[in-house]
Amino acid sequence: MKRCWSLVLLATACCLAAQGQTPLSVAYQKTVQLPVAGATAAYSLDPNIADATATNGVVEIVGKAPGSTNIIIVTSAGAQTLAVTVPVPPPILPPGFEPPERQGTGESGTYEFRYNSDPSQITNSIEMKRTQGQSFTRLQVINANLFSASGSTSAIGFPLLAYQISRPATDITFVDKNVLNSPLTLDGFLVRGFHMRQGPWEFHGGFTSIATFQGLFLSTDREYTAGVTRVFRIDDVNSLEANAYYFQNADSQRTFASNGAVGSVVYRRKLSDKGHFLAELGMSHGFGFATRATYDDKRNHLLGNFHIQSRNFASLAVNNQHGTFADLNASRKLTERLYASLDLNQSNYNLLTLSQNTFTTSSLLNFKLNQNFSINGGGAYARFQSKIPVGPAITTVNLPAGVDYSTRHFGTGFEYQRTINIEGGGGGNDYAVNARASAGRFQLSGFYRHDVQVPTLAAIFSQVPGLQDALDRAGIVASTPEQLASLLQNTAILQLLGFTNAFVVNLAPSRNDLNAAVSWMSHSQNRRKIDLSYFDSDTELLQGHFILKTATLSYSQRLKSTNDIVGSAAMVQTTNNGVTSTHPLFSISIQHRFFTVPTLLLPGRHGIIQGHIFRDDDSSGLYNAQMPTMGGVEVRLDEDRVTRTDSSGYYAFHHVPFGVHRVEAKLQSDEPFFYTTDSPATVDMNATADFGINFAKGQIFGFLLNDAGTGINGITVELKGEKVTHRVQTGVNGKFAFTGLTPGNYSVATLADSYPPGYALQDLAAQTVEVESGKPASTEFKVKALRSIAGRVMVYDKTTLQTVPLVGAVVRLKEVSLETKTGETKTGPTGAYIFRNLAAGTYTVAIESDGKEISRSVVVSASPVSIRDVDLNAGTKEAPKP
């Protein structure tokens, strides 16, 4: 068995290494032993980083220096690879010292004005933040008219007012903070008061009096809390927390929220960078337990919550989760084509005024047939049961199956679902079709869905104007049991706080939904977008119909680079049992971003960053005032602030906060170019950052060669374009180049005057060469070099006893074909001969005399040459016989 586990361990380690996942980590100067059955040898590919040996089936790996390498493990089955990493050991610093860090610095802020017509609410919000490394200071203010459960009027208030000073070891927040402490104490509630974190200690004290729903601020009675947390860090990934909290609610909320103290212990574990796990055990008037986990990697996704809390467990009234609650959302990519998902939701409210059980679960498999088609199928189960207030139990089972077709510009799908109503014994067939298409800047989409036996929220009533419509719309949009369960969980607080009556889930016999939408988005920088949609939902109730029709037009646009505007107008028509009401809805939002903050509010040093953008055709990388500049080029500071260079190529960012900043030139050009300076550049406050731009010009290069292929040095080559004329001289190997040329056609020619003697210049011709941006063009000139061999043929005349010219003798160049006759000539009256137009090479000059061949070997160089005096002696000329 041990042997099996060893093989499994090695196989797992090797597989992980082979897939590029999780190499074996061996600490610096530490040894790791790995049992590997059958290992006979092991060696490292970089013994400076890690070394390995194998003895008796145990592989021992020693970390010798930080880095990564591979270990080869030899077994009888072959050689296997194990990736090993030796991490950098943590620095050892004297007590009180911290490692230096160089972090980014910046200021940012936003202001938003928002108006909703129904319910009529105006919201002003402003946020300013100054960041320096891991420290920041932030101011947040939201001003709005708040609604209360007692009537239809609203009062002006500040639902958020916060000033936060955060340092690595300390965090202080005055007034409001959204506290995310733990599931059984404060879990995402806005607490107005004082908040502080100092090392392992954390304190929150104050009250909460605001609830939110669908973006609406709702005023509630004050609920007081104070508590302290102590963190015990076990190691880098594990920690424990101890919480001690006290909660005091208003008398009106006592029916569903108990006062008292809560003590809890929290265990947290960080799952590398992919997720985390939390478990909390608490005690108050009864026990509570909660756990939460998230995990995400390339193939898996997991999000899970579980929460159980006794009815009298002390809490804020806005924390309505007394009972048992569970959520699970998981998915996994099983193969490259098969994808599985699972959802589960359970809510079990156990309060004096609310007792509801909700359980939904669904699982789906999606299989990709090819690039365009995929099919899916699965099952879902849902059960809704309300005891307080009393409602019917509703249990449904759904069995969906569907097919999808998708391309880049078009997609459509069809889904069939068999629905079974367990309690009623009925059921039916659901189906839905959808389609989408895109063309240019337009996108269209639409669907039609027919459902039977649909769990539906009914008889919702709210005193707050507009909240009724918001709830109606939310109820209609919740088209699946999972969405309905989630809505019930989110809206229970409205019911408990008295904003609405109790929600009851009923089973509607059928529902038909129709949706059509079209959107248009510009490609320009102002990001204009128009959306038009129509939605029609007809729900058949046990008595009559509920029909909702909405038509919505929305528009958004970026105004300059710092302002956005979003507006929408909708017409909503509801028909309930024949009674129809129609009313309009409007909303508008204006956002403004700013990148400096008033020193008075958030103190800090400020300066300027400036510079020029210039053409740097010579790639000098340095700006001087004589260089041509470029106006109208966009420059960005820290990806937030944007400006453009003026006509002199100058730009400046004023009121830049102290610290290191990133400045980037963003030139838009169809012509290829590159920056001759760093862009983006990293500079300090009060620095100059110039940006050089070199448009990647074309060039022509070529060679001037003679007919032997040898380069000709020192010849002038002339280039003529539409507006330019350049001359260069060829180099030693005959090479010439014209650089920095704009695209176009050029005439290139060698100048006859610049040739030395010895070349045939009658055929020199210009060549036309086409140049493209950033691409080289080449050309080649060939010129004939003039080469000749000359000499005389002499003979000894016995009559005159002198050497005399031999006239009419046939002289041959043996290497030249006789058929061409070019390799043969006859001597003239002086016995002279000459061969012209010769190629470079070695020649044999020969004559025949008295049946014998007389020859001389001559070497003709590649350069022009006239070889003379290649004389041949033909022997003796006999004297005439008397």
Binding site: G20, T40, A42, S44, I72, A79, D616, N694, A737, P776
Partner: protein, 227 residues
């Protein structure tokens, strides 16, 4: 040697430092040339003469330098990778402009010194190993384990590795390290390692293992040591 990993359009800055340990001045001009492979060997090509040249984008902080005796000088070079390029290596060099006198005083020479900068722009790293060769030790030379490797991908690679000698029972009896050599796309080089020990008569296996760009490959060959 500098190995850079990047993407098309990215910029790389590198500092080149030259130290003059002689007693005379030396003048240089700063030059960048593209390095391409022709017939398995490296060829330097003048900047701009190859389509989508990287060397053509070279920006030096100084175009000419004079290095004083017993001093150093540093020059930064900035290279921009074109949006599309097949070039993966550039040499940035100090090209001598002085004629150096020889002892005879007859012929002058110039000296150039540079750094080879390679770029990995995609994950297409492929090495093609040839069979392992084992050259037994002789009275005048150590045993040599050698292997030719060619780069058949589009990216440079820096293979480094080790050779292991295993007995017939699979036990490790010796190992040697291959000196890392950079292989440009299309290039073919021989990697060899010497084993200085003496092996007794018998049958053995030689394993050559290389790691490069997150990959590993092992090839082996059997050999026999005779009396």
């Amino acid at each position: 040697m500098v190995m850079a990993k990047g993407t098309f359009g990215q910029t790389l800055s590198q500092t080149l430092t030259l130290t003059n340990q002689t007693a005379r001045d030396f003048a240089f001009e700063m030059v960048a040339e593209d390095v391409v492979i022709k017939d398995g060997k490296r060829v330097f090509v003048t900047a701009g003469e190859t389509p989508n040249s990287i060397a053509a984008s070279a920006v030096f902080t100084q175009k000419t330098v004079l290095v004083k005796p017993f001093s150093s000088i540093s020059v930064d070079v900035r290279l921009t990778l074109p949006a599309e390029t097949n070039i993966r290596a550039v040499v940035a060099m100090f090209r001598g402009t002085d004629k150096l006198p020889t002892s005879s005083g007859a012929v002058g020479m110039t000296a150039s010194l540079g750094a080879l900068i390679t770029f990995n722009l995609t994950d297409n790293v492929k090495l093609k190993p040839e069979p392992v060769r084992v050259i037994p030790a002789s009275e005048t030379a150590n045993m040599k384990i050698a292997q030719w490797i060619s780069n058949s991908g589009t990216e440079p690679a820096l293979p480094e590795g080790a050779a292991a000698v295993l007995s017939s029972s699979g036990a490790l009896v010796g190992k040697a390290i291959f000196d890392p050599q950079r292989l440009l796309p299309g290039e073919r080089l021989e990697f060899s390692a010497e084993y200085p020990g003496e092996l007794p008569t018998g049958n053995y296996r030689a394993l050559c293992s290389f790691q490069f760009e997150g990959k590993t490959q092992t090839t082996e060959a059997a050999f026999e040591i005779k009396k």
